[in-house]
């Protein structure tokens, strides 16, 4: 059955009461330029309550681009958000994961991504799932590679960062590749 309860985190819809928590982690300086906000909310400027309220309103309207909050199971703290989108073509959806920097490298992002991939490949007819990561985000690129995503190009001049232009690295993961990695994980687990 489709589940959004992982080992460390669960994914759920945002509620109005989550605005302060989301505002808090989006304010982290290490997330500047990589907040992964789907609405027209700035990726760089300081955000206020009104911005996050507008973000939630946009998230509520996006039926084919759902954003779920990443909630730590041990204490129900909101630590990030995860979005998947099939607005263009459910054959080729995209994903993004944003985790509060203080919570990186604890498996939370992996948990969230695994759940989204299981949904896209298990409940939608996805064949190719993509993600776009700024080339300056070493953490993001390592994260995507660790999950089997392969680079399929660079989108030049995607933006400016502190005066230097940068590209998006486009990566994708095909259904057979995802299935193969799951089978290998299951085999490894069975071997103990």
């Amino acid at each position: 059955m489709s589940t959004f309860i992982g080992r460390h985190v669960r994914l759920r819809r945002p509620e109005s009461s989550d605005v302060p928590a989301v505002l808090r982690y989006l304010a982290h300086p290490d997330l500047v330029g990589r907040r992964n906000l789907t609405a027209e909310i700035d990726e760089v400027l300081p955000l206020g309550t009104g911005d996050v309220e507008a973000l939630f309103a946009a998230w509520r309207k996006s039926r084919r681009e759902p954003t779920l909050l990443v909630v730590r199971r041990e204490d129900e703290e909101v630590i990030g958000h995860a979005t998947m989108g099939w607005d263009w073509d459910p054959l080729a959806p995209w994903v993004s994961v944003t985790i509060e920097p203080e919570q990186w490298r604890r498996g939370y992002g992996s948990d969230a991504l695994d759940m989204m991939l299981a949904h896209l490949f298990g409940w939608l007819p996805a064949h190719s799932v993509s993600c776009w990561v700024p080339e300056w985000s070493a953490e993001g690129l390592a994260f995507a590679a660790a999950h089997g995503f392969r680079e399929c190009g660079r989108v030049r001049r995607a933006g400016l960062r502190a005066g230097k232009e940068w590209a998006y690295v486009s990566l994708d993961l095909l259904r057979p590749e995802w299935r193969g990695s799951r089978e290998r994980e299951a085999a490894d687990a069975a071997r103990g």
Binding site: L91, A92, H127, S130, R150, C152, G153, R157, L174
Partner: protein
């Protein structure tokens, strides 16, 4: 004065264009992306789309009919969208089969690019096409576009999977191909 190339001009859409725009939309060879299927659009639908366009001073898109200057014949449609002012924009083109091979699509593309770089002052122009459309890739390459991204097996058409292709051309690359024009915008 509308945008003019060597043999075509780019002008606004008019009510009289509706039957021809409809023909482009309902032709599987020219209709564009599968997201717009099925090819059952009607004249009232096309008219309503045309009528729904609102006047605005903040525009992020443009749609132009490609018209042959010699005789006013409708050639196709060229458009730009997702304009990030002074930064980037995405273009798309669709021409009637009767005009294929005439050079009109290339002239229209060159004319629009000149407008985008010289009048809108963008730093990069992008276009999407796919692996099942080698003509579109060649047309883009002819203007100087380069392959940016190839999304593996991300599309499906006429019974086959194909790659989605994103191409781009940086501002300085366009000016290098057009030494007759000087770039008055300083580099970033």
């Amino acid at each position: 004065m509308p945008l003019e190339g060597e043999t075509v001009r780019l002008r606004e859409e008019r009510t009289d264009d509706v039957p021809l725009l409809l023909a482009l939309r309902n032709d599987m060879a020219t209709q564009g992306w599968n997201i717009a299927l099925p090819p059952d659009y009607t004249e009232p639908m096309e008219r309503r789309r045309l009528d729904a366009r609102e006047y605005a001073l903040e525009r992020t898109d443009g749609r132009f009919v490609i018209e042959r200057m010699a005789d006013g014949a409708f050639v196709g449609l060229i458009r730009y969208s997702e304009l990030r002012p002074r930064w980037e924009v995405t273009i798309g083109i669709s021409t009637a089969p009767a005009a294929w091979g005439s050079g009109a699509a290339f002239d229209a593309q060159e004319t629009l690019l000149r407008f985008l770089y010289l009048d809108l002052g963008v730093r990069v122009v992008r276009l999407w096409t796919h692996g099942a459309n080698p003509h579109a890739v060649r047309l883009a390459e002819r203007s100087g576009f380069r392959l940016s991204m190839r999304g593996r097996e991300a599309g499906y058409k006429t019974g086959r999977r194909f790659d989605m292709i994103l191409m781009d051309m940086l501002r300085e690359e366009w000016f290098a191909l057009h030494p007759d024009v000087a770039d008055d915008l300083p580099p970033l």
